[in-house]
């Protein structure tokens, strides 16, 4: 992983069209500003992982016959 140090107000540019700015640092919390093309989805990782897990679980079907009976 690339590790870069940034101060408040400094930013990173990703891929020419995404800018991530450190807006505020308060204790152990950092507020980031993200400027990206509007069709680029930005998600909090914990929610992303939750959906990934749900997709994974959805593809692992245990009770197919029981499911068919319900519909």
């Amino acid at each position: 992983m690339l590790a870069l140090s940034r101060k408040k107000g400094e930013a990173l540019i990703l891929n020419n069209d995404i800018e991530i700015t450190v807006l505020e640092i308060k204790g152990d919390q950092v507020k980031l500003g993200i400027q990206a093309p509007k069709e680029v989805p930005v998600y909090r990782k914990e929610i992303y992982l939750q959906i990934q897990k749900e997709n994974q679980d959805s593809m692992n079907i245990d009770g197919l016959d029981a499911l068919k009976k319900l519909f």
Partner: protein
Amino acid sequence: MKLVSKLFGEINIDNSKIVEFENGIIGFPDLKKFTLIYDEENEGGGINWLQCIDEPEFALPVVNPLFISEKYDPFINDELLRPLGELNENNLCVLVTITVPQDIKKLSVNLKAPIIINVEKKKGTQLIVEDNFPVKYEIYNVLESRKAEEEGGK
């Protein structure tokens, strides 16, 4: 093309019915090509399957969310749908995934991350919506009572 799927055995896939998910589905960026398998008996009202073409062992059971709850109307930023082309009521298909745990009574749908498909352009995407919809919305009771009603009405 022919495909050996885990759930349905050997199936014939109509190449013109393959939907492309440019960025895959969430958490699985390499799963880009899917086809929708319908249950003819249910005329689209029941479970459909989003069968993955890239990895035939993967298929997601999906359902039209309006079949579960008529009130499902998440806010979706139009810009995120732009890669799908222009959407209208004739080409828009919204689905939510079904999760089938060992305990069938915990059966749920994921209302937080709907799948949106432009059926004309054959392009699809899965999004996480900002609204406070649950990832696990349990549906066993809804389906049971509906089934009971249908059978009572016969």
